[in-house]
Amino acid sequence: MLMDRYNLLQKIGIYICIAMFLTFVLLPFVEMIRTSLSPMSHLFHAPYEIWTNEFSFQAYHDMWIKVPLLGRYIVNSMYIASMVTAITMILVIPAAYAYARLEFPFKSISLGAFLAVNMFAGAVLLIPLYRVMHTLGLLNTYWSMIIPGIAFLIPTGIWLLRGYLEKIPKELEEAAYVDGASRLYTLRRVVLPLATPGLIVVGVSVFIGAYAQQYLFAVTFNQIREYQPLAAGLFEFFGYQSVEWNQMMAAALTGILPVMVVFLALQKYLVAGLTAGAVKE
């Protein structure tokens, strides 16, 4: 389009601004990568120098020795996030279907109540939750980190999946229903297979959310090192004398690698799915 044409000067201006914006966004990552590749002698050296001739992957090797449970922490993070995702999806799928397809009393009020959960941070409810966990004997177990995680992802899950289900043509369900299929059969055999792409996107968003939110529940409800997720386990790199920054960054980068891979593989769909509500149909 002629309207969208930029002259050379404008183009340069845009690229400079984009570069500044991306610098702000990516600076911590670049510095984390640089740090993970540098030896401590270089890092603890003033004045600050970006470049060294001693870049190596040594820290990626040493970190497993310095914090022997590191592998366990990463697996814990994955395990907690997977459990949260699985249970959240089981709860969210039927509810989202109801909001997308059925008419019933108190529909908008109850949906509003679900979304209002977004207003409460976990931290506000920690006190009674701490007591609930204590009473149920769940303190210092995986469940103490899984259960609160689910509660705070249900609202977003319902909201996102409802948007997807609404886009599936109603005629197919009606055809199955007319042929004598029960409601549950229709949901299981007609709606869910059609909704698979949407289910994957919502599932991945929930997984990313579940991976991201573990810190607060872990430091509050769990004191057993073997059960800690990575975000809490990274504190072990803070030694009594000094912090092994290069190993800590190497561990952090290794730990976020799985979510980054998932994100990069699905980013096109994720971005479209998340922002569907922002675009007018």
Binding site: I14, F29, V132, A151, I154, F263, T275
Partner: protein, 310 residues
């Protein structure tokens, strides 16, 4: 709907079929999720309110009426924290919206590499907040960190500067990190909204000789206003409740310089086991956020009416 004729026939079949009515079926589907939220969110919320009237500690406490509330409200330290929380929220949310708007405009510009830039904006949102904050912790390091080192190299600082060691600099540093965490999602939503704006509007304006800035001001901004307004509320709530960032960077220090209401609540309840007093602070958060949202939604209605959106 395409099949308006088939609709009544279908309704008739539905009505004839025995078994669960639609409403009952819907509630059966919703119940598991609702029950879960009820136990993990709604009940604790009510319990928080009850506890706020007691002096519960490690042992179960006595009913003390409004004592916790009067103590809290007459404490100058608490009022200072409330002020700091709102300053934190207003500064951080404004920055997120402004940078998000600029970022979205840049990312929607039709230049080569656009798809790549859009992807590169997302990492802060994808990774766990706490882990991103470890990166910032290192950037803010006074002796060996990037920011202090670069500032010295360019002559902005004469010596090492610990960003997180002083009340003011720690507060503003935490805001920068909070903006970093929140901006990607805000940009993304603005970008999506911008792409939803009809091309015809721009073309009509362009034919009439309107420049880019004019089109941005008079078409883009009004068209995406509902999204700006709702993102502002959502970010405000998230920022108000933001815990991980401050906890990893400063744990509310130095000398309380970054203690917001949520950090204060956490420290009182979980740190000092004063569950009663902590609950009072939690109730204060819920009430303030509730009032704020109500006020805001009223404003949102006005804005939507003004811009002619339903």
């Amino acid at each position: 709907m395409v099949d308006t004729a088939a609709q009544p026939a279908f309704a008739a079949i539905k009505a004839k079929r025995r078994g669960l009515t639609e409403a009952w079926f819907a509630w059966v589907l919703i119940l598991p999720a609702l029950a879960f939220i009820g136990v993990i969110v709604a009940w604790p919320l009510l319990e928080t309110i009850r506890l706020s009237f007691t002096d519960t500690g490690m042992t179960s406490g006595q009913w003390v009426g409004l004592d916790n509330y009067t103590a809290m409200l007459s404490s100058p330290k608490f009022l200072e924290i409330v002020g700091r929380t709102f300053l934190w929220m207003v500064l951080s949310v404004s920055l997120k919206l402004i940078i998000g708007l600029i970022g979205a405009s840049l990312l929607s510009a039709a230049v080569p590499g656009r798809a790549l830039f859009r992807m590169l904006v997302m990492p802060p949102w994808v990774i766990p907040i706490a882990i991103g904050c470890f990166g910032w912790l290192w950037l803010y390091n006074g002796q060996f960190g990037f920011l202090s080192g670069m500032a010295q190299r360019f002559g902005l600082l004469s010596g090492p500067f610990e960003f997180l060691a002083y009340k003011n600099s720690a507060f503003y540093s935490a805001i920068v990190t909070d903006v970093w965490v929140g901006t990607p999602l805000v940009s993304l939503f603005f970008l999506a909204a911008m792409q939803g704006v009809s091309r015809d509007l721009y073309e009509a304006a362009w034919v009439d000789g309107a420049g880019r800035w004019y089109r941005f001001r008079r078409i883009t901004i009004p068209q995406i206003m509902p999204v700006i307004v709702s993102m502002a509320l959502l970010s405000a709530i998230w920022t108000f409740n933001s815990f991980d960032i401050i906890w990893v960077l400063t744990q509310g220090g130095p000398r309380g310089g970054t203690t917001t209401m949520i950090i204060d609540t956490y420290k009182t309840a979980i740190g000092n086991f004063k569950f009663g007093e902590g609950s009072t602070r939690a109730v204060a958060i819920v009430v303030l956020l509730g009032l704020f949202s109500l006020l805001y939604l009223t404003l949102l209605n006005r804005v939507n009416k003004y811009y002619g959106v339903k």
